[in-house]
Symmetry: C2
Subunit: 334 residues, 2 copies
């Protein structure tokens, strides 16, 4: 691990994208998204992803100039053809349109397809909630998760993020419906460490604690049958509203050359106007259970990590840093 100042890492990432032909405004959005993941301690959604983004631009399956085509099917329903654009660029353009319309309409929805990986959903939810809207964000992915009681990956990790204005800093939660991310399994495999029981099955669908075997298998849903039911509902909602592919047909967030056919859904609600801080403070100051040092409010650990890393720098894996530097040079001499 090397600790690097946030602004320097951001500049390096921007450099890589500039040399890949991404215009300034789009570059900033993609870099901000990846940097927020690094700042909040979620490296699986951070700069690790940059090489794939560049490769996909080179291979023509990502168009860095596209912002998506917007069609309002009805006053509240925005259908977005992402035109192969960068995930955050297409999502942000949709959210701008939604925010404007939410004030008039009360609640609005965007269903996006033909866009690329949109990264950490909480980034969107928190920013939109800061502006006074309640947001529910859903996104699908390649099939990586097995149904509860099944042996084979049939569902994406299908995260949900929810942002809510509270009177001061917005509430934000962001979680996959899998017990863990595939990134964490790869991370264990890279370090040669076993994974805990219950995380995953191997390629034959049998429970395993071998991280390398789990990479060929499937991750479990969080919370057993309940998390499976939620993950499946999100897969069905996103696919059916956006027209995105479903289940094992989803491609393009984990490879370099497939057109990305997953979907995203954002629901944006005007308001609320209530101050929720007293309630959150009551939770925050509860006596913790044995084995816990405090009761956490979702999102706040990430925010504290962010503050610390902005002051002290971001620890980044040496191989990720080396790849970034190589990418910047490679592009410079290309």
């Amino acid at each position: 691990m090397t600790v690097v100042e946030a602004s320097k890492l951001g500049a390096l990432a921007g450099n890589v994208l500039e040399r890949a032909g991404v215009a300034s405004n789009h570059r900033r959005q993609q870099v901000d998204l990846l940097m927020e993941a690094e700042l909040r301690g979620v490296p699986s959604h951070g700069l690790l992803r940059l090489e794939r983004i560049v490769q996909r631009i080179r291979n023509g399956v990502t168009d860095p100039d596209a912002i998506g085509e917007h069609v309002w099917r009805s006053p509240g329903f925005l259908a977005v053809d992402g035109q192969r654009g960068l995930g955050p660029v297409v999502a942000n353009a949709a959210l701008e349109a939604l925010k404007q319309r939410a004030r008039e309409n009360g609640v609005v929805l965007a269903a996006i397809t033909n866009s690329n990986h949109i990264g950490m959903l909480g980034w969107y939810a928190e920013r939109v909630a800061e502006e006074g809207y309640t947001v529910i964000a859903l996104s699908t992915s390649e099939a990586l998760v097995h149904p509860w009681g099944g042996r084979r990956a049939m569902l994406g990790t299908n995260p949900i993020a929810i942002g809510i204005p509270t009177g001061s800093a917005p509430f934000m939660m962001d979680t996959a419906t899998s017990v863990v991310s595939m990134g964490e399994i790869h991370d264990h495999a890279n370090r040669g460490e076993p994974i805990p029981e219950g995380w995953a099955v191997d390629g034959a669908g049998n429970p395993t604690t071998d991280a390398a075997a789990a990479k060929q298998g499937a991750i479990g849903p969080f919370g057993q049958a309940k998390g499976y039911a939620l993950g499946l509902a999100f897969e069905l909602i996103v696919s059916s509203l956006s027209g995105a592919a479903i289940g094992r047909d989803v491609k393009g967030t984990l490879d370099d050359d497939s057109i990305c056919n997953k979907g995203d859904v954002f629901i944006v609600i005007d308001g609320p106007r209530r101050d929720l801080q007293a309630y959150l403070e009551e939770i925050r100051t509860l006596p913790p259970a044995d084995g816990f040092s405090e009761v956490l409010i979702p999102g706040e650990r990430g925010r504290a990590c962010r503050d610390k890393r902005l002051r002290e720098g971001i620890p980044i894996a040496d191989e990720v840093l080396a790849r970034l530097q190589a990418l910047a040079c490679l592009e410079a001499t290309a």
Copy 2:
């Protein structure tokens, strides 16, 4: 347990409500809701609840004639003052208004307060999905669930139900964000049986397997930190959009004399128009994991139970049946 024909049980329940002064159309809705829970094998949301409903009408905290006052704050946002009406009556009236508006608007939302317990959320989600809409339903309750890492109940069991048209029978999932319902804990206590580890803490906030002690304590969130984050997000969304009470201030679904101040939120989306059955069939026919006889689609076990109970009758606890019969007589001679 006594097995009683569904139509007879329904008639008995209707009788009880008729004698409590509930008009025919409202009676039918309340009975249908409770009977659907009995039919689907969820007795905690079934006829067990009827005595409280009658008591609350007698005590003037439920108005059986009210259907709720509707104010469209914007084209998509319906604010409902439930006017102390019966939960299913107020919810159904709101859903009728939403369905009509969803066709024009694409997506609409109702935020309901001052209504009574709306029971099994899946009942609403499934029916509305049958008519071609995607539905997300949320509801809060008295604080019964502790935050992950905390010792004290601060959250409702905060269920979510999602209904989605699929081309034939709609997809429907319905789950509390607690690991189990308070009803199941009471059920264990009544039978003098211990509860599994991880379900609940006692009144001092310590983990317990004593069901009687758990009744004085708090239930755990499902799926640990992730389920806690979801349950908290739902509490904040419902309370902030509807103006309902929050956390430990919520009253009126578990007592006979408090005005009910929890809230409900329904989001109704027009569509989709996609056939999702091939995907669901692919999941249904997966080889099951060890210890499972099949891979289930959420909602389908309840539907199979329903079919069986419509044919063979509903097993009902003798004390619940005796109370219903007494209530019918009591009312008859009152």
